[in-house]
């Protein structure tokens, strides 16, 4: 213990050591605070929009909710709000939440022409990326590790103390030095995050998993620092080499990988399906109404025999036509989703080689703020849309009047359940890479000890 406290005093006496640890603590706290503020703003936006929506919906109900009201008008003019509040851990890993919509209104018309609508974002603000705890961990913490650990061996050699140190009796000198620095960095990162998790009532398992990611990722960098630090003769060149590694691993290679993935897996199906759906829906106006109904009955046989109406127009035909449009592009929708998932999978595979990418992917999967979280929200919207149109069919196909009271019976959107999970593969990859580097680094340190002692 006394040796450990002696080592601690040594770190605290160096300006660089204390400075960089305090800086990390400050940045980590700022990031957590800013992440909480940002997610709080999203919740406020949802509350604000919900209020507006209630007023708007009441207006629609007042206009169209008459004793002999037509369900068609009600369905056509009723936009219903869906929303996706930030999951508890989103404050630490905001992910795509700054650019993906978290409120969307849908009505009983074709879903595919509504689902991909964008919300108002300021693209220039989104461009540099979000400032959150995950960013501090993935980008900045490695630099602090480098600052603290690059000269562990070279610094002693340059100071002329290496031989003396190695001749001292006792074991575990390097383990103590490395372990302590590693623990301090992890501590500076983890404390603000843990406080944030408590404040936001985040689930314990998710919090622990994110801390595990941080621990593994930092272990990788500690191993890196050891490996490079022992290979170099001078502290300055060790620092330069390590920063070079950092640039390659967090700036250059991920960018190259991202360009390659975007090139290899195009995602144009979204536009294709939108165009196709529009053609089908509008073509419906030019073909016999019975043809549209026949296609509609394939999946809605319960309404067969109820399609007849007098005159040129009936709402049930319009809504059937929109549903037929959605069903006709189901294959395209699946292909579009598949292309987005393929991009995700390839990013995950990149993470097997790049610890920064693995850590980023794992953090956002745990926090449920990655594209899979967005898919879950979209699926939830689709399920709600399904309920909504099925709610209207009995009114439309049996010509039942839609009254004021029926507006109150309309389904309301229930937010999705958290779908965050601890991804095994990236974590395992991260653990393996970290373990490999740490053990290689320790072996080198041990060899140096041996060599210098001899």
């Amino acid at each position: 213990m006394s040796r450990l406290s002696a080592e601690l005093r040594l770190i605290l006496r160096s300006r660089m050591g204390v400075g960089s640890l305090l800086l990390l603590l400050l940045l980590s706290s700022l990031a957590v605070w800013s992440g909480i503020a940002q997610m709080e703003r999203q919740r406020e936006t949802i509350a604000r929009v919900s209020g507006e929506q209630r007023r708007d919906f009441a207006g629609v109900a007042a206009t169209h909710g008459k004793p002999d009201g037509d369900a068609g008008y009600a369905a056509y003019y009723s936009f219903l709000l869906t929303h996706d509040a930030p999951p508890p851990l989103a404050f630490a890993a905001i992910g795509q939440r700054d650019i993906q919509p978290f409120v969307l209104r849908v009505r009983a018309l074709g879903l595919q022409q509504q689902l991909y609508d964008a919300e108002a974002i300021n693209a220039e603000l989104a461009l540099p990326g979000v400032f959150d705890w995950a960013f501090v961990l993935v980008y900045l913490a490695p630099l602090i590790i480098i600052a603290l650990m690059h000269d562990l061996v070279t610094g002693e050699r340059e100071g002329g103390r290496l031989r003396l140190l190695l001749s001292l009796p006792g074991q575990g000198l390097w383990r103590r030095r490395i372990g302590l620095r590693y623990a301090l960095v992890l501590f500076a990162l983890a404390v603000p995050f843990a406080v944030g998790a408590i404040v936001t009532h985040a689930p314990v398992a998710g919090t622990a998993a994110m801390l595990l990611v941080a621990a593994l990722y930092l272990a990788f960098w500690a191993g890196c620092a050891l490996l490079v630090g022992t290979a170099m003769r001078a502290s300055a060149s060790a620092a330069a080499a390590l920063i070079g590694c950092w640039i390659l691993l967090t700036l250059v290679v991920p960018t190259l990988a991202s360009a390659a993935i975007a090139r290899a897996i195009p995602a144009a199906k979204g536009i294709d399906l939108t165009l196709a759906q529009r053609e089908i829906v509008h073509h419906g106006w030019d073909i016999a109404k019975q043809d549209t109904f026949e296609r509609f009955f394939l999946n809605h046989p319960e309404w067969r025999g109820r399609e007849g109406f007098e005159g040129r127009f009936h709402w049930k035909w319009l809504f059937a036509m929109h549903q037929v449009g959605d069903e006709a592009v189901a294959r395209d929708v699946a292909a579009y989703r598949a292309s987005l998932i393929a991009r995700e999978r390839w990013s995950e595979r990149v993470g097997y080689l790049l610890p920064g990418v693995a850590a980023q992917g794992a953090l956002h999967r745990i926090a449920d703020t990655d594209p899979f979280g967005q898919f879950a929200y979209q699926d939830r919207i689709a399920a709600f849309h399904d309920r909504l149109r099925h709610f209207f069919y009995p009114y439309l196909f049996t010509d039942r009047p839609f009254t004021r009271a029926d507006f109150a019976r309309m389904p309301t959107f229930a937010p999705r359940l958290p779908s965050g999970a601890v991804p095994a593969a990236p974590l395992l990859a991260l653990a393996v890479v970290a373990a490999l580097l740490l053990s290689a680094g320790s072996r080198r340190v041990a060899r140096i000890s041996g060599a210098d002692r001899a």
Partner: protein, 472 residues
């Protein structure tokens, strides 16, 4: 040969001996070239895709059968935003803004299918463009090459020796700067050659191209200057490295990321949903065309009857409902324009807040210059949105007029206008955006960079005197 160039030559020799430095420099140059080619290919593909989509939806519009014009108002038109030729150099916000809008009557739809929304989180690490390499990575290279330039001499004791031999502090520092500045420009040279190629080919204007080169030259010189200065001030080269990396981290990575959050907290950007609801409320306040006693539309009816010199709607030579549709479109378009201006104003306020910090983080200045000149900035996107909206109004009103003028002559249960008419409906023709149209923002950002250079130059003079004094 002057003393300063001799110093510079010595510095180059030292840089050449530093194997890691040479490799890093070559890597960066390679990266600039790779980024250029990847990015040019990417831009060309996007451009071809969008042009193909535009042609196919335009042909699709022509192919529509005989229809009631109002059906065509809702069949609508898709427009795809062409991507500027220089956007290969700096993708700007292109990946974050939707690139296609569905235009129809009495609705303003969002621009959808932004690449960033369809990408994994990897994209947020940055996009491989020459701008990314020059803005983010090149300063790091210059730090690596320059951090030891003076500090090394001090550590080895050669600094004192040189100055004792009568070398002037200004000459020494000037020589070091000359060496580093030459490297900085050499690193940027491949990118400049590619840019010049675009200008020579007539694809991009010389004005924008030269200003872009000027901006990046200033940006890189700034870092060369900074590296030599910090190296001259630092105790040893390690401290110089730490200080420079710290400056880079704060100026290039941290501030640009942290400031947007502060800006977003200051100015609330309303959601499209709120805008839409407010707009319909305002529209309802103006009047209800279905209400026979509505004062606004009664006034409108009187005007129409007076214009055609008839007393009854049935006597009009045109379809009254078509005219009401046109009036409704005019009203809602004005409201949409107001909402869009409000939203653009709020975004501009947020962005101005960030830009105000350019004096602290010159990256913000070079990013502005770069995005603006490559026509990939918010101004260029807004210009596209404006063009699309103006076009929407024109084609919807063309169809509404067809309804008013042609339908009375057709009549019947299901009146349809001949499909030949669809060819008369205007098509979207994008007028390419001239980045120098409103050069105020570019000038301001260039001035910020010039201010940085001037300030560092001043510091340079002071440092040179100090170094000279220290030795004596």
């Amino acid at each position: 040969m002057s003393a300063a160039t001799r110093i510079a030559r010595e510095e180059w020799r030292a840089l050449l001996r530093n194997r890691a430095g040479v490799i890093a420099t070559l890597l960066l140059v390679a990266l600039v070239l790779v980024a250029s080619f990847v990015s040019i290919e990417r831009r060309d593909r996007i451009e071809a895709d969008r042009a193909r989509y535009q042609a196919s939806v335009d042909a699709g519009f022509d192919r529509q059968p005989d229809r009631h014009p109002h059906r065509m108002v809702h069949y609508g038109q898709f427009v795809f935003r062409p991507i500027a030729p220089l956007a290969f150099f700096d993708a700007g916000i292109d990946s974050y803004t939707g690139n296609t809008i569905f235009l129809e009557g009495h609705r303003q739809n969002s621009a959808n299918f932004a690449e960033a929304r369809q990408s994994s989180l990897l994209l947020r690490f940055g996009q491989l463009t020459p701008a990314f390499v020059l803005q983010t990575l090149a300063p790091l290279l210059l730090i690596f090459l320059g951090f030891a330039s003076v500090a090394r001499e001090r550590e080895r004791g050669t600094l004192r020796l040189l100055l004792a031999q009568g070398l002037d502090g200004r000459t020494l520092l000037g020589g070091k700067l000359l060496a580093q500045a030459a490297v900085a420009l050499a690193v940027a040279a491949p990118a400049f050659v590619v840019l010049a190629g675009f200008a020579l080919a007539g694809v991009a204007g010389w004005g924008a191209t030269l200003l872009l080169m000027l901006g990046y030259a200033a940006w890189l010189l700034l870092w060369a200057l900074l590296a030599v200065l910090v190296s001259a001030w630092a105790h040893d080269s390690r401290a110089a490295l730490a200080a420079l990396i710290g400056l880079w981290l704060i100026g290039v990575i941290l501030l640009p990321r942290a400031l947007p959050e502060a800006a977003a907290a200051q100015v609330v950007l309303p959601t499209r949903i709120e805008t839409e609801i407010a707009l319909h409320r305002d529209l309802a306040r103006i009047g209800d065309s279905h209400d026979p006693d509505d004062p606004y539309f009664n006034g409108f009816r009187q005007q129409v009857l007076a214009r055609y010199g008839v007393s009854r709607i049935e006597d009009l030579p045109v379809q009254y409902a078509g005219l009401v549709g046109m009036e409704g479109e005019r009203l809602s378009t004005a409201l949409y324009a107001r909402a869009a201006a409000d939203s653009a104003g709020r975004e501009a306020r947020q962005n101005r807040f960030v830009h105000a910090f350019a004096a602290l983080s010159p990256l913000i200045a070079i990013r502005q210059v770069s995005m603006a000149l490559t026509a990939s900035d918010p101004a260029a996107h807004l210009d596209f949105l404006d063009q699309a909206e103006a076009f929407r109004y024109r084609f919807v009103q063309t169809l509404n007029r067809m309804q008013a003028e042609l339908i009375p002559h057709i009549g019947g249960e299901d009146p349809r206008v001949s499909a030949d008419n669809w060819k008369r409906v205007p098509r979207f023709a994008y007028r390419s955006y001239d980045p120098l149209r409103d050069a105020g923002a570019i000038r301001r950002s260039l001035l910020v960079l010039a201010g940085w250079l001037a300030g560092l130059g001043l510091l340079f003079a002071v440092t040179a005197r100090r170094i000279g004094r220290v030795a004596r």
